[in-house]
Symmetry: C2
Subunit: 121 residues, 2 copies
């Protein structure tokens, strides 16, 4: 778990996002205003890092930033939005399922092509 406060470099290490990307996410509101120390430098909380884990998951499954922003707003709006969050994630889950199915289908085409090329040798 660790100390629960992260310097920018530690947050980069932990989340895999670049510092520029973290600043960008804060700027557009995908990440809520991050705490600063006396010198104005960011100090990411455990919560920030946890949220960024979710963002990474959604991003890496192809969710557009605009949709992640909607989700972020639901999260901020409080517990009464839980049903909406479920709906949003379920919809996204279907998308992901579709992507996987599509990739698998295309992959079999690639396999056929490879077999065909092998047959030429």
């Amino acid at each position: 778990m660790r100390v629960s406060v992260y310097t920018p470099a530690e947050a980069v290490e932990e989340t895999g996002f670049s510092i520029d990307t973290l600043r960008y996410y804060e700027k557009i509101g995908l990440l809520e205003r991050v705490d600063r120390n006396a010198a104005g430098q960011r100090r990411f909380s455990q919560e920030d890092v946890g949220w960024l884990g979710m963002v990474r998951c959604l991003r890496d499954t192809g969710m557009p930033i605009a949709t992640m922003l909607r989700f972020a707003e639901l999260v901020r709006a409080g517990d009464h939005t839980v049903p909406d969050r479920i709906r949003l994630l379920e919809e996204h889950d279907r998308q992901v399922q579709g992507q996987i199915a599509n990739l698998a289908e295309r992959q079999s085409y690639i396999h056929h092509k490879i077999s065909y090329y092998r047959s030429l040798l």
Copy 2:
């Protein structure tokens, strides 16, 4: 199978690419110079349409255009490039495999999140 010559509108219908995209692909050399009729309008051959099927497969599995161009060049260069084509497709196949694995893993995270949210209701 059909007539083996396609007007632009028919090629759009057949391949699912927009006419602008087809022109773009020709312009950058992903599609070899397409035949024209007397009036200068494109007439896509059966071969063009077949190649576009391959392009769609590669594109939809996330291959960058630069790599598709390399593949296109191998195809044009003749039969002696078949081993290189196999290598390229095998490498891409591994990428696709990785994408699928990654999506599946992220998806289980999403499932957990949904379960967690359900437990709050």
